[in-house]
């Protein structure tokens, strides 16, 4: 009797069986939503090749690919973790300033441009990663470089 753990929830099943041994291990990324959003463009700048690889693998697998793309997925995880790790090493104060601002302003990038400018400068100086917004029209200032955000609470 009572060799089974009681489950009180009828919808959520938490299965603590670890992955089989033949699948190589990878440490999961530990950053939460606001730090990830703050670092997202730098993750994109460094890891574009890996991310594109993974997305191509998923596309080629035609809706499957959970097992087939594990190798690419591990590369994506490791690359993102390396970016977070480097930012933590070199620009921790600016990084925290930015993501705490984001967390306070509903994760709206346009409300935290001053903190973002400091972070972008620090990351560019130390890690040589630059924030670029993909598909910005030619000859137009990208939105993160504009001097004034019209509706922002803090410039």
């Amino acid at each position: 009797m009572a060799s089974r753990q009681p489950r009180f929830n009828q919808q959520n099943l938490i299965d603590t069986t670890p992955l089989p041994e033949e699948i190589p291990k990878v440490k999961e990324l530990g950053a939460t939503s606001a730090p990830l959003l703050s670092a997202s463009y730098f993750i994109g700048a460094r890891c574009k090749a890996y991310n594109d690889d993974y997305m191509m693998c998923k596309t080629d697998a035609n809706g499957r690919g959970e097992l087939e793309c594990l190798k690419e997925g591990r590369k994506v995880t490791r690359c993102a973790a390396s970016v977070i790790d480097d930012i933590n090493k070199h620009c921790l104060a600016e990084f925290r300033g930015h993501w705490q601002c984001l967390e306070n302003y509903n994760h709206q990038l346009w409300n935290c441009r001053s903190a973002e400018r400091k972070l972008n400068k620090c990351v560019f100086d130390n890690l040589k990663l630059e924030k670029t917004i993909p598909d910005t029209p030619k000859g137009e200032t990208p939105v993160h470089l504009k001097k004034h955000m019209i509706f922002a609470r803090n410039v």
């Binding site: 603590t16 990324l29 530990g30 730090p35």
Partner: protein, 86 residues
């Protein structure tokens, strides 16, 4: 013939009471959000990211910038299941 000030006292009381309750409820909501402004206009992506935040930190508004997740994080992702699986 000005309005006597006694006529305006009830309005002062009403405005004061509304201001107090509004401020108190706002403060309560701020405290429930971990001493941060509440999130609003959340889409599905924001909601699943907040669930992930809860799995990482134990609190939906908790944040951490560590590069590596704590041990066991990869296994505490709940599956949504139907009754027949229990």
């Amino acid at each position: 013939m000005g309005v006597p000030f006694e006529a305006l006292l009830p309005y002062g009381i009403m405005i004061g009471m509304f201001a107090f309750t509004g401020g108190a409820l706002g403060q309560l909501r701020w405290m429930q959000n971990g001493r941060k402004r509440p999130r609003h206009g959340l889409d599905i992506w924001d909601q699943v990211m907040m669930q992930r935040d809860r799995r990482l930190t134990g609190f939906a508004r908790g944040q951490t910038d560590k590069a590596e997740a704590p041990a066991g994080f990869e296994l505490n992702n709940p599956w949504k299941v139907e009754y027949r699986f229990f």
